[in-house]
Subunit: 171 residues, 2 copies
DNA sequence: CTTGGAAAGTCAACAAGACTGACATATTAT
DNA sequence: ATAATATGTCAGTCTTGTTGACTTTCCAAG
């Protein structure tokens, strides 16, 4: 969280300054504080509605990829079906999510948001996007490219690939 | 998670392209997946030891700022004292954390890690730092600067200032 | 010097959201 | 016909957060 210090020398050490334990530790702390800020706005909305982060995540990805199946959503979220089922049950009971039997494979359930669900999603993501957009524009386009690149590299290649495939499937 | 598309035109719209909803949504998803990856390595170690993320966080900040008080730690972590107390109790009972009565204000408790606690902290942070360092070196110094800058901007100014003060107090 | 309030600790009850394990049902694939 | 898959559900556990109530210790201002 401290101010970064750029040395003026042209030594080889300078090239790797961003890899010192101290720099890396600062990155770790930034991730902690930034993630908390990142979830703060939707959390505030959710706590008035008897929903939690789990509902937000489900709604986000159903909105993003309409008609995705339960298994695909499980894969994205990385939780157990029992855990997800509780959340989906509530969302369906409250009329935010629809579940249709699959056309091709009738065992599957294709999930979509109802209009009410879409409004809910928009309310949450508007709050979250506002913060993100502000951070983006304060930091500038080059910083955003760097931000994205470091986060990408942090994700395991298998996860990255798995998510990439799912995202393009539901174009 | 999709590939970024840079337009070749020089229009004014280009300047703000990275602020489209789609770009911002991709950033949001990156935060989600990257944070999960970010905590995965320490989580794996913790689950064999009957500890959780809360213990990791406490140990991290006690290591980072030896002799910080319970109140300061509460402020950093943003949880209730009851929640933190349970965690600290376990860590003290297990001989990882020491609590000394404050010199100036005897109501305060100054927290430090025992040698055992330091070893524990190192085990966890080595795992986490390895991923971070790898992401940093793959992405490069410029990307790291951008990464840090965007995360900084995402944090509320008050939090940023609060943490900055604490960090420099325990230099 | 007393008293008010801050810092810390503790107890109890509760909830969200994760987990495991077991089992049921429908449907598809072999 | 049988095996495997996709989904749903019941029951129980764990971590980590919450509130509320209460005590002890201690500093500082009246």
């Amino acid at each position: 969280m401290q101010q970064e210090k750029y040395p003026s020398s042209g030594s080889r050490g300078e090239q790797l300054l961003f890899l010192t334990d101290d720099q890396v530790r600062q990155g770790i702390e930034l991730m902690f504080f930034a993630y908390r800020a990142f979830t703060a706005d939707p959390d505030r909305i959710l706590e008035n509605l008897a929903y939690g982060r789990a509902h937000h995540r489900a709604v986000h990805f159903i909105n993003r990829s309409p008609n995705l199946t339960v298994n695909e959503l499980l894969d994205i979220l990385g939780v157990t079906k029992q855990s997800l089922n509780r959340v989906l049950r509530q969302l369906m009971d409250d009329g935010l999510v629809n579940s249709k039997i699959g056309r091709i494979d009738r065992r599957q359930r294709n999930l979509t948001l109802t209009e009410k669900g879409q409004a809910f999603e928009r309310e949450l993501s508007d709050a979250q996007r506002a913060r993100m957009r502000k951070a983006y524009s304060s930091a500038g386009a080059d910083a955003v490219a760097g931000f994205r690149s470091v986060l990408q590299e942090m994700i395991d290649p298998e996860t990255r690939e798995k998510v990439r495939r799912l995202m393009e499937k539901h174009r």
